[in-house]
């Protein structure tokens, strides 16, 4: 590839949430940068579609629901030694003010957005699946970290927790040569933000106009930052947050 510090050649990387959105775009961009990928997600059909769009060879896919303990154990046993991990599995939930939170709402969103990444990392560490050096990137959000939106507290909590966790990972695993950073995206055009009952298409369009750079993000915009964080170019960076939000947190 000539001189390219952002290259991922020779790296084996596991990407979760790869069936759609940011995980999917990240998988494709990593493959273009020369990585060998193991992609995972819940939806077999969409995961296979991601796999077919990867460049290069030697890639594989593992269908797994990260909320399923047995599936996670199986996944951890199956993967080879990793040079990188990109955790993108995440869900949004409908708007809900704090006066209406239920424990089951908390359990559900924390499980998918926060617990699954932390338990996956725990399992990989126990099975010594991280190379020295290696890089972990967690996909957090500006919500809960840089901005606060009415009705979005459940989501924000899980993302703030992820960000705090990533800093602990960075500190504790530095001696092992394992780096850990997060990306905090603004609103990105993925199924997670798709018009639901409470936010209509018009409302999303109005919101999009508020962005200083004039638009919502595209999954690739985030993927490219994840590529940087997985690459040797970021070898002195750990415990950091890369905010990619079209400037919205400035207004």
């Amino acid at each position: 590839m000539g001189y390219n510090p952002y290259s991922l050649e020779g790296k084996t990387i596991l990407i979760t949430g790869a069936s759609s959105g940011i995980g999917q775009a990240t998988s494709i961009e990593c493959s273009k940068m020369g990585a060998r990928l193991i992609i995972t997600g819940r939806n077999e059909e969409r995961l296979a579609k991601t796999l077919s769009n990867l460049e290069g060879s030697g890639h594989s896919m593992i269908v797994a629901d990260l909320d399923d303990e047995d599936a996670v154990t199986s996944l951890i046993n199956e993967v080879p030694i990793l040079d990188g991990l990109s955790c993108n599995a995440g869900i949004g939930v409908g708007s809900k003010p704090v006066a209406f939170y239920k424990k089951k709402d908390l359990d559900k969103i924390f499980q998918t957005n926060t617990y699954s990444a932390t338990l996956l990392i725990r399992g990989l560490l126990k099975k010594k699946k991280f190379n020295t050096p290696s890089s972990i990137v967690l996909t957090s959000s500006i919500e809960g970290n840089s901005v606060t939106s009415i009705g979005n507290g459940l989501y924000g909590m899980t993302k703030a927790a992820l960000s705090a966790y990533s800093r602990t990972v960075a500190l504790e695993l530095a001696p092992k040569g394992i780096r850990c950073n997060v990306v905090t995206p603004g609103m990105v055009n993925t199924p997670l933000i798709a018009p639901t009952g409470d936010l209509t298409e018009e409302q999303l369009k109005v919101d999009e106009q508020r962005y200083p750079l004039g638009r919502y993000g595209n999954p690739q915009d985030i993927a490219w930052a994840i590529v940087y964080l997985l690459s040797d170019a970021s070898c002195w960076m750990t415990g950091s947050t890369v905010k990619i939000d079209g400037g919205i947190s400035l207004v």
């Binding site: 708007s95 809900k96 003010p97 006066a99 209406f100 239920k102 009415i150 009705g151 009952g197 409470d198 209509t200």
Partner: protein, 72 residues
């Protein structure tokens, strides 16, 4: 109907709710009130309604009648 009207009055933090008015006639009606109302419909009446629908009623009374007709 009484119970629902009382819940709405509590939500808007007003003493007496004039059900001939619209929600938007009240100063207290803002986006947070709107979201709280939707959450209330879900938790107390098991009904799903979005913001657009809530805003479409000519009066709070019309809204209440619709909610009660859908109540399971």
């Amino acid at each position: 109907m009484e119970e629902l009207i009382q819940k709405l009055a509590d939500l808007l933090e007003v003493e007496n709710l004039d059900i001939t008015k619209k929600f938007s006639d009240y100063d207290e009606w803002d986006s947070l009130a709107g979201l709280s109302l939707i959450a209330l419909l879900d938790s107390d009446y098991d009904i799903t309604m979005n913001g657009k629908e809530v805003a479409s009623f000519d009066s709070i009374e019309a809204f209440c009648k619709e909610v009660l007709s859908r109540k399971k």
